[in-house]
Amino acid sequence: MKQLTIANKLFQSRLFLGTGKFGSSLQMEEAVLASGSEMVTVALKRVDLETDTDLLLTHLQHPHINLLPNTSGVRTAKEAVLAAQLAREALETNWVKLEIHPDPKYLMPDAIETLKATEELAKLGFIVLPYIHADPVLCKRLEDAGTAAVMPLGSPIGSNKGLKTFDFLQIIIEQSNVPVIIDAGIGAPSDAALAMEMGADAVLVNTAIAIAGNPLQMAIAFKLAVEAGRMAFENRLGAKVKHAIASSPLTQFLHEMNQ
């Protein structure tokens, strides 16, 4: 399988994990390790930056795991920039998952504020991975603004509804010059496999693993699904054909005319 590159960084695994919603930090750590993921998001608001022994962070201290702090909780570009700066200082990374969802009900991302914050953060030297709606034009605007990748949603966060935005994700993948990471709504390994088969560069999963009966086993299931989907994509998965191949060809006359 081809390696994934985001902002000159190589990843063997195309599965990113969220770290919220687990029944314990240990359970989260076991799932992260089993998934093979090298990139996990951490909500800045959940981390206690005033202690050296924050439970969440101590369970993520593995050399192969990169932390991707997210700005969950902010409502505006201004707040997001502030949060990213704090994360950079505290977690010593200039990577940031930009999440601006002022709507606490469905956690829908604010396109306008997200674009503004991406512009600002890119100028400040951040590697920005914005969480967005599956909006192809916004993706191109974000590219212009200097985004490192785009993270369009499959369906609302935590909904487990799968790729409800399928057709728009296809357009995004077709047009994108930056990696496309499908985030939110991936509720089953089959959703993750489908995302990879259609050519997504990676997927981010949280709820489906965190609240599974056995998160560790579910993490493995997602790992395998992501690998299967990617392999299928790289080996040109056959197109689905909805109709039968006609038995009396329409262009037979061309052969007859040439005889």
Partner: protein, 369 residues
Amino acid sequence: MKQFRDIYDQYSWDEVKTSILAKTSKDVEAALAATHRTLEDFKALISPAATPYVEEMAQLSHRITQKRFGKTIQLFAPMYLSNECNNICTYCGFSLDNKIKRKTLTAAEILQEINVIKQHGFNHILLVTGESNHTVHVDYFLKAIEIIKPHFANISIEVQPLTQDEYAQLQGAGIYSVLVYQETYHKEKYKDYHVKGKKSNFYYRLETPDRIGLSGMHKIGLAVLLGLEDWRTDSFFCALHLDYLQKTYWQTKYSVAFPRIRPAEGVDIANYHINDKELVQLLCAYRLLNEDVEISISTRETEIFRNNIMKLGTTTMSAGSKTNPGGYSVDEDSLEQFEISDERTPAEVAAVITANGYQPVWKDWDKIF
């Protein structure tokens, strides 16, 4: 702009009550099967007809809550700043006619309380006062917040209703959420319970969440004091209020709580008592109506009840609470608002949460926001 008062006035208490009691098992089954539930579904789910379906409701509520909130319980501590109060409310320990010495914490005392609360591990705090506008006013709150803010990631308040500008000031100073409980949505009964003082103005209190919403506060907490009137009808109005607020102030989060009058508070609750099973029914009905509302359970409830209810839809719990100003260290015997029931320490409560397969969350916000 239309406010909740305009909606409220279109409803009749008696008609709502009758319509809830008229719900049948067929209505309950339709509500359970629905993918998007309405306020009519909520009526069915809180009706007597839903009693045989409480287990099914609990299963659904458990699953929906885990999907949205994960296997986590957010912990917070209340900190009472003052028990001075100019209201006479027949059910409350702080009532003006309760002739006991009053206390409002000074800056030094606040710091002393902070130290104890912090030692327990809390990072989210709820500031509570009575209603004494001459001494415990917005300036007092702002000074208190200045002292408290460096020590906590998230600060909520439960104080007298304020103006929109005052809420905006508090928000600017670092307050995350405001809790304001209507107590009862029964306009006439409200006046019987709230005999004297500013709180006796039913509509001013009813309009308070609108003022909070307009101020841009992050979260608003609603509740009725269960036991003052028919809990079903009161809860319908509270759900109606929530529904309106969520559509109007769409950037704001919401929480509901289910304070039951403790028998010790000297009110005759025989008529309107809500039993444990009914409280579970009510909690689950809220979750089935609203998948994202936070549900908070206080130490008014017993250990056993709290241990079991945390999986049924609860998202937030207080622990080790003191309901008197200075109760953690400064003046442990000052007048308390109500007697708590679950007297375990925060560490003990956290251990039970862990034993239930849930993660106690001490921090889910940051003071930089």
